[in-house]
Subunit: 151 residues, 2 copies
DNA sequence: TGGGGTAGGTCTACTATAGAGACCGCCTCC
DNA sequence: GGAGGCGGTCTCTATAGTAGACCTACCCCA
């Protein structure tokens, strides 16, 4: 059912550049979950609800500022929910909303791909980096810097 | 076979934060293809090979600099290949490599999800933006500048 | 004969975004 | 009575992305 040709067929239905993000679901959604931390948050929350500092410990190299912002954005998009418990130091728990839950399946296939192919990717990188300059990028004869616009 | 619980099971095998990117395939790969343009490039190339300026026209709002850089990165990772034809103004064609082809399937499920759910996401956004301040973020008594709401 | 267009880029300046790390009130524990 | 956890916010700086001028080389058109 889900092979490359059906994927291609699907892609062809989306305008990649003619429209703004609002008109392109792909860009709209990818811009959100495609950032550095969102998927990590969702993966963590997929296992169980987490509190703020649990998430901070789980991901460790996210700054609190980005943690707050990422969680806020995910909440705004309805992928996670935020629950405040009126304990003495109020504790906050984040958990996946149904919408976020529905994302797990497509995410899992991506994660699986990443796992399967990251060896190949590293190999390709090593190969690429090991062959520097065998493909000249441009035939420009290094005409030195003409002075640019002097605003 | 691919339901949420299997996804969760899979996620639990990856360390989210304890390791560097090199040790975590998920972060490693997501950092690459999760940027603003990579998936768009791959979607365009999934349909047919493109030349540089065809890609620029297809995506329209990418700068040439980012187009060059994105293509270079994808080439480096072995997802696409670059072919130079020695025509009078040399033309360059980009096409998917097998590795990039193998990414289409997981990407398609993500795109499908995006298409299916972006209505819900927009609704959630509108709901969130429409209810400002009903969830006090912190019990801080409004010291001085409150005129920003985190945006 | 030179003006404009195409091709595949590079270069520089500017700006938006991410990251670091201090700080906050409030609480508990030692 | 100082340390540390809680859930954040604030400011500053470093980094990444953007805009757009520029480049060589070629063609067509008048």
């Amino acid at each position: 059912m889900s092979n490359a040709s059906s994927a291609i067929e699907r892609f062809s239905r989306y305008p990649l550049g003619e429209s703004q993000s609002v008109h392109c679901p792909v860009r709209d959604v990818l811009d959100r979950i495609g950032d550095k931390w969102s998927m990590l948050m969702i993966m963590a929350l997929a296992m169980r609800p987490h509190r703020f500092s649990e998430l901070h410990r789980a991901v460790h190299d996210i700054s609190k500022r980005m943690l707050t912002q990422t969680l806020r954005d995910l909440e705004r998009d309805g992928l996670i929910t935020r629950h405040v418990f009126p304990t003495k130091p109020p504790s906050v728990e984040y958990r996946l909303a149904p919408l976020g839950l529905s994302l797990l399946d497509p995410m899992a296939s991506l994660v699986e791909w990443a796992d399967r192919c990251h060896g190949d990717i590293h190999a390709a990188r090593a190969r690429f980096d090991g062959t520097p300059g065998d493909v000249p990028r441009q035939a420009v004869p290094a005409r030195s810097k003409v002075h640019k616009k002097m605003a």
